[in-house]
Symmetry: C2
Subunit: 404 residues, 2 copies
């Protein structure tokens, strides 16, 4: 099996100004194509530290994939470091230079000394075209390994990886697609899932990972033998029949949009404490416009009454965080948004606003699918972002369940 | 200066099932308190690999902070590995055990063999209480370094770090607060900002990082001498007077909420392609309810007409993605939501829906602040998430500008 390391380069990553999402994305791609990711490192913009890490990595791994450090500024050092480590000249690359000239002209940016710096790459490297930005990716052999460097901007890196880098890796090493079976289980403690897996044992040619999310557990089973993977996954799934949500890494919003499309139904939301998250997640799915009409984010009681038609008596008698209000909200959403299905969420996400009777984490969710309407109260654990995320996930899960 | 490494432990992180956000959070805390983060590593749940990484790290750094691998399942190995590396017995910890017993009872989970596994910690370790979950954190000396391990669930780890771990680190090493000055600059290429910084030179006792975001550039200046940091930052800021947005790492939504509070104004949104992101971001700020009434996510034209009152002629004549529609949306939001200020966003986030006349990335933003209303068209670069994020950021930036 080919062993890879991923380096994310940039001091801003280590001191927490930006979260590195590139490595996870690349990791999932490599694992799918049969390459094991054995290490991910975030490195500061420091020549000595970078050189030391590369030298260490080329000894241990077959492939080192890097992102970041390819811009024109003083702290963009990746091309220089890779040149050094691979024993190549750090030299002007005419192809890269012409691409920079073209991009700058397009955006009316004046050519400067630092753009000449950006046009320097390891001599004789393989280059990867950047259709979305300025910096090319490149690859060089180094010892028994290969180093592949890509820009750090995610929307530049992703098409470069899929369109150019992965096919190039496929020429170096035979890519074997891993068979992946992910199981989603809700409402069971991880210790019970663990028990089942331990009892099954761990076959050598199957990887199994338990991943505890917010409100559900994902068991990831993977290996090269499809039949073995499927039967192992099935053995884990079996004892959790009634708590099994589904296969695959299809996220809840993707699944919801797919099911609504299949059943030719439309959906809308009435959101309070989630502030627009349900709408945001559904519209993150491209093509959601055919099923999603809209969402009323009714943060103030005034909007709950005025736009959604929640009766003032409900708010006075039961408060905005109540089953009664969630019911009025979901009914209001159906009416105002003219949809077949709707969900409403109202709750206390904290850190303030909790009372003895309704502590932080109290959330009421209303679901209406094809005439069947239900409201349920929940008590979610966690901080403000966690409570909001759990509320959204729970609403989506319940809606998916109603659509089955 | 104290040198630290951060390890995020869990195979799911390397293969991209989850993005590690803990390390960035911890990194920003450590840097603020004068500790240098020299490396961040993601490690798989593999004893040999973990042991090797720890042995390497305790040679190089003073402090190794880890998250993850403290649960009850078969792939939770951190306590065992830290015991091994630090030469301690991996032993039953009664305090941790009793805490587990209490938590399980609270959530009606049956005690199992794997919970005894979770109650084993390095013998004689310092423990850190977990107020939000089951697994304690712990610390042990190892060679000349200290290893501190915390759970991987962010809302368990964060209060543990702030309330227990950081004060404990402060007893080991004198914490010196770093002075931090971040500058936000919009509408200038990074090469120009880089020119100014290169011309200024790099004083030994000042760190400077350029961070290119979506729609703005953040220059981070930090050091222990407040005066020096401020004057260096001021020298960078000066040439960008008209493109300078503000100091600090205050995000746009935090800033917007603060300014609206100060001016006792309310705000609401009319969102189309952003699908609820503006509402989501503003309500992620705790206490936003005093300024934010709500948002109308009008994804379908029907909702634009019915709820926001966009005239059907506007949609027929100019289309939903037009300056005219953005204007009608922002005016509708003011009226329906009854706010002093409003913003509207309508555009084509892609990947489908673009035309020759209005390609993907075309976005119209309407802003109305205290009676002053303006609509502007934009052409954003990037993929669907990037275009949506830029639209939100631009709307917030413009609103903040209007509020100045």
């Amino acid at each position: 099996v080919i062993k890879a390391a991923i380096f994310a380069i940039g001091s801003e990553l280590l001191e927490g100004s930006i979260v590195d999402t590139n490595s996870a994305w690349i990791g999932s791609r490599l694992v799918k194509w049969g390459i094991n990711v054995e290490e991910v490192r975030l490195l500061p913009d420091n020549i000595d530290k970078m050189v030391a890490s590369f030298i260490e990595a080329v000894e241990k791994y077959d492939l080192i994939v890097t992102t970041g450090g390819l811009g024109p500024t003083f702290d963009d050092l990746t091309a220089e470091v890779v040149s050094k480590v691979s024993g190549r000249e750090y030299a002007h690359n005419e192809e890269q230079f012409q691409h920079i000239v073209k991009r700058l002209a397009k955006y009316n940016i004046v050519m400067k000394e630092n753009h000449y710096h950006q046009a320097k790459l390891p001599e004789g490297c393989k280059t990867f075209f950047n259709s979305m930005g300025t910096a090319f990716g490149f690859a060089v052999p180094c010892g028994n390994a290969y180093i592949v460097s890509m820009p750090g901007v995610p929307f530049e890196m992703k098409p470069m990886f899929d369109d150019e880098v992965l096919p190039w890796i496929g020429e170096l090493y035979p890519l074997r697609e891993r068979h992946i079976r992910d199981l989603r289980i809700a409402g069971k403690p991880e210790s019970e899932v663990d028990d089942v897996i331990r009892a099954l044992g761990f076959p050598e040619d199957i990887d199994c990972i338990i991943n505890v999310g917010k409100g559900d557990i994902v068991v990831k089973v993977r290996g090269f033998d499809e039949e073995k993977v499927d039967s192992y996954a099935e053995a884990i799934r079996k004892p959790f029949e009634s708590n099994f949500i589904g296969y695959g890494d299809e996220t809840f919003p993707v699944r919801l949009v797919r099911m609504l499309k299949e059943q030719r139904l439309t959906v809308g939301f009435a959101e309070s404490c989630t502030g627009g998250m349900m709408g945001t997640e559904v519209t993150s799915v491209s093509g959601s416009s055919s099923v999603f009409n809209g969402s009323i984010v009714s943060y103030s009681n005034d909007i709950k009454m005025k736009v959604l038609g929640v009766p003032s008596e409900v708010l006075e008698k039961h408060g905005a965080v109540s089953a009664e209000c969630a019911l009025a909200m979901v009914e209001g959403a159906l009416k105002v948004l003219g949809t077949d299905c709707a969900a409403s969420v109202t709750g206390i996400a904290g850190p303030d606003g909790g009372t003895a009777e309704k502590p932080v984490g109290t959330v009421f969710i209303g679901i209406s699918v094809k005439g069947r309407t239900e409201v349920q109260g929940y008590s979610f654990n966690g901080d403000r972002p966690a409570i909001r995320e759990r509320a959204v996930k729970t609403a989506f899960a319940k809606m998916i369940d109603f659509l089955k």
